[in-house]
Amino acid sequence: MKVYVSSVVEAPAERVWERLRDFNAMPKWHPGIADSRIEGNQPADKIGCIRNFYTCDGGQIRERLLALSDYDFSFTYAILESPMGVTNYLATIRLVPITDGNRTFCEWTAEFDCDPAREGELRELIGQKVFKGGFDALKHQFAKA
């Protein structure tokens, strides 16, 4: 199944990207993430590096960075381990400048397989709590800045 969430942040794309491109920086901007580290002391922009982090409700997740583009303002990652019960999980965050008003269009897309009975629950968790929750936090942070 596929989950797609998009939003508008009132800041230039370069500034939003500065915050998002650090694969290890989720705890700095996402309210649902408690702490994070990159395994094996690798740089957070090395393709293939693995972030290992805890959500605020205690779940541990490991994700591998598959692509990072400073040209397209986008990165893609896969879940290696998580308590969510998803397989083949691939997600991409992409930013596009909105020249009208110097703002940023933000997209977060995930594709994964799961037990069909859990689709609604996972759509809510991933789409609303994780993705929309993250974008709302960004909107809030850049509105204050």
Binding site: Y4, V5, S6, P97, I98, T99, G101, R103, F105, D136
Partner: protein, 489 residues
């Protein structure tokens, strides 16, 4: 190579924006730089490979070819074939993405091209500013003021000026049930002196239409096209018409009947120009009922802060508007409705005390709610079935306004009855209030201001294609509708 990238957010759902942009020939309708356009060879405007030939406002003629169109990705790519402006190897892509946060649309427009040496900046600025940024603002405005309806209208055949044209219309050949509403092709004459020919985009359906269809009356004599309300675009005007111009968006609510038609020629003095904030569908849904609410509340009597107003059929077309407007004026609003669902609708529209009274037994409850005072003003469009109760619910020195007789003419009243409570009883008719052009424009202006400010919400809850007018009437007669019903040619 010059690269241009511009993007914006349009405050409309992606499908509304895409419906316009996927039509490769729509740009002359909304883009301020484009004067006229056509697809060569009569091809559909969504056929990949089709060529649009168009003229800019400054006279330049261009040809552009559609080379990608994707409804899946919301992408349209096109290139310039011929242009007096030296944009060489020009390829442009329009792409939409949904903004799930707020149901809006992200729109990017990018292109690459070459220019003669030294002209890069000048041409880049022209494309980015005049074409892309100008297009963003214009399409947003176009959609906000009812562009969808204009798009449909433009898809119809172009019309030669000064000649009769054929158009679809509903014709009633005998009075009777909804099935007497038959779609036919009729000839619409060019406008004579004092007239205008309209391409109608949305048509209001009213209970009056049902009554005039059902049995003999002085207002609709078969064969005739029914309907008293619509909005659309002025195609041409006859001699002596100065307050409207071809291209104006206009609306009307008037007699004689004849609004159930795709194209109509009619007296121009009934037409009011729509402000940008009022879209065609809203106007078609609101002119008759909204101007009715306007004169009932401001002209037949003047409802004041603190008045108790009783509105019958409070969830109906006029009822919902009366509730909102009376509440806005500071009145206490009591409404009667037939079902609990309709009570909820009335309450949402500002009705303080909805009374569910399918059998029109409400007078005692009005007395109870008002602690014996009764209603200072009663708006009764029901007639026979409710009139006695309305009079009973009326306060001392109250005003009973009978503005329709959906259930038939009530029994006559006597002077002695009026004297019981110094009552005033009126039987106003909208068309007597709108007969003077100045009053008509005042009423329309008040109505549009109320809608634009958000104080009056027009709920269009039923839309039917014009030829499905019988079904629209069936629902209205069966009391199965709420808010307004419109027909779309």
């Amino acid at each position: 190579m010059v690269s241009i990238f511009r993007s914006t957010i349009i405050d409309q759902p992606i499908d509304a924006v895409w419906r316009v942009l996927r039509d490769f020939n729509s740009h002359y309708l909304w883009h301020p730089e484009v004067a006229e356009s056509e697809i060569e060879g009569g091809l559909p405007a969504d056929q990949t490979g089709c060529v649009r030939r168009f003229r800019l406002k400054d006279g330049d003629e261009l040809r552009e070819q559609l080379i990608t169109l994707s409804d899946r990705d919301y992408v349209s790519t096109y290139c310039i074939l011929d242009s007096p402006i030296p944009l060489l190897d020009y390829v442009a892509t329009v792409r939409l993405r949904p903004v799930t946060d707020g149901d809006r649309t992200f729109w990017e427009w990018r292109s690459t091209f070459r220019t003669p040496p030294g002209r890069e900046d000048e041409l880049a600025s022209k494309v980015a500013t005049n074409i892309y940024e100008g297009g963003f603002a214009a399409l947003a405005a176009f959609l906000a003021r009812g562009g969808q309806a204009r798009l449909r209208a433009a898809a119809a055949q172009p019309v030669a000026r000064g000649e009769a044209v054929e158009a679809e219309a509903i014709v009633v050949r005998d009075h009777g049930g909804p099935t007497v509403l038959v779609a036919e092709t009729v000839r619409v004459p060019p406008p004579g002196p004092g007239e205008a020919r309209l391409r109608q985009t949305a048509i209001g359906v009213n209970y009056l239409d049902v009554r005039l269809r059902a049995g003999p009356n002085g207002l609709l004599k078969p064969p005739a096209t029914p309907g008293v309300e619509a909005a659309g675009e002025v195609m041409e005007v006859g001699d002596g018409v100065s307050h409207i111009l071809p291209g104006d968006r206009v609306a009307y609510a008037c007699l004689p009947v004849g609004s159930y038609a795709a194209i109509r020629t009619m007296a121009a003095h009934h037409l009011v120009v729509l402000p940008p904030g009022i879209d065609d569908e809203t106007a078609a849904a609101a002119m008759l009922k909204g101007m009715t609410a306007e004169y009932l509340l401001h002209r037949t009597c003047r409802v004041q802060r603190g008045d108790v107003v009783l509105v019958h059929a409070a969830a109906g077309g006029v009822g919902l508007l009366l509730c909102q407007w009376a509440r806005h004026l500071g009145a206490t609003v009591i409404g009667t409705v037939g079902t609990p669902d309709k009570a909820r609708l009335a309450r949402d529209a500002g009705c303080d005390y909805p009374i569910v009274a399918p059998d029109h037994d409400f007078a005692a409850q009005v007395r109870e709610i008002t602690k014996g005072h009764g209603a200072d003003v009663v708006y009764d469009g029901i007639g026979k079935a409710s009139f006695a109760g309305s009079f009973e619910a009326l306060a001392m020195r109250g005003h009973l306004v009978l503005y329709g007789e959906a259930t038939g003419m009530p029994d006559p009243i006597s002077h002695a009855m009026l004297a019981e409570k110094s009552a005033t009883v009126s039987r106003p008719v909208l068309f007597h209030y709108t007969a003077a052009p100045d009053t008509l424009r005042d009423m329309a202006r008040n109505l549009f201001r109320m809608i634009e400010s958000g104080a009056l919400k027009v709920s269009i809850n039923q839309r039917f294609p014009l030829r499905e007018a019988p079904e629209a009437h069936r629902r209205l007669e069966g009391r199965l509708t709420t808010g307004s019903t419109i027909l779309l040619p």
